[in-house]
Symmetry: C2
């Protein structure tokens, strides 16, 4: 069976960088945004829309008002979200069959549990996440104040937690779901990776 | 400043073995039960009684009935528990000043926070903890059924959580209080230690 390493991460904790560097250090595949591209191909939905879907928990029903009474109807986006999740599960399993790899996010720890992955959760305190995000703003990205960034981080993590709990039926970030939880507050990820990589050598 | 490593651990997770081996691997001091001996010397209370105190959260007041009315009086054991905690804090700080060391339990992560320790929490799923405890029964120790062991583990952890939360004012085992959380389910601790030790080399 291939060695699968999954990385769950709080937004701004450096989990993505950690995953990418870990894959480099181990000389194995790394999957992150590539998965969105693949889902897009499978579902014929645009990458942007797929991205939007996988960042939010679907609502099964939405309320409509007919005359004076309120009713609920099946939300079309709910079936799209289901289709995206199914495509995602299929793709992750194909990747896991193909070779050793590091997969960031995407409920991979849950979806691939039969492949006995090594599950890592990367987190950090809020202040250091805000700092990290402010320092690493990508070119063209909106300039946010510290307060706005704090709000953005909290919102993204709230969505991740809801999404994970919706599909995996368990609590996002709960240490019992992971083999190792790494606090990256005051940590240089570049220095940490070779150490953690030793676990897999 | 000396390198201080603190280990919090769920009962039966192998956290104590992990701490002892880590200290050996790093060639630094290891403190666990020695602390109880020192507290006993400082407080003039017997080691057994100290042990009993530090395994339970103190109750400030206890109820007595005078005539038909109920009243609360200061529990003598509460002041003993306070004395024990103060002695413990004093001893831990002395040890932290003396040399690099690994300290298991004793709210050391909280008490020594000014020494910027590296805080590790060791945990495992309940089944593997039960198995571990049943396999490693010390000579002369009471033989327990699986069910009894399960109950014992839960009770000890409940007390640890209460004790920690009483003194540290935060949640025991909450990953945000630790630098690294290690799940030892299906893990051979002897093999894991040299890898983790690399963090400190």
């Amino acid at each position: 069976m291939n060695r699968i390493i999954t990385i769950g991460r709080e937004f701004g904790s450096g989990g993505r960088e950690f995953g990418r560097r870990l894959a480099e250090e181990l000389g194995i595949e790394y999957y992150d945004k590539e998965i969105v591209k693949e889902i897009s191909k499978h579902t014929k939905l645009s990458e942007e829309y797929v991205q939007q879907i996988i960042e939010h928990t679907p609502h099964r029903l939405y309320p409509i008002t007919i005359g004076h009474s309120m009713s609920y109807v099946e939300d079309y986006s709910f079936s799209q979200a289901q289709a995206v999740f199914q495509a995602q599960a299929k793709i992750l399993k194909e990747l896991a069959e193909k070779s050793d790899c590091v997969i960031v996010g995407r409920c991979a720890d849950y979806i691939l549990k039969d492949y006995k992955p090594f599950d890592i959760f990367v987190y950090a305190d809020l202040d250091s996440r805000v700092k990290r995000c402010l320092e690493r703003r990508a070119e063209g990205e909106e300039v946010l104040s510290e307060k706005q960034m704090r709000r953005k981080i909290k919102k993204i993590d709230r969505n991740r937690a809801k999404y994970y709990s919706f599909y995996a039926g368990r609590k996002w970030g709960d240490k019992s779901n992971y083999d190792l939880c790494i606090n990256t507050t005051d940590t240089v990820i570049k220095d940490l990776v070779p150490v953690i990589a030793k676990i897999f050598k």
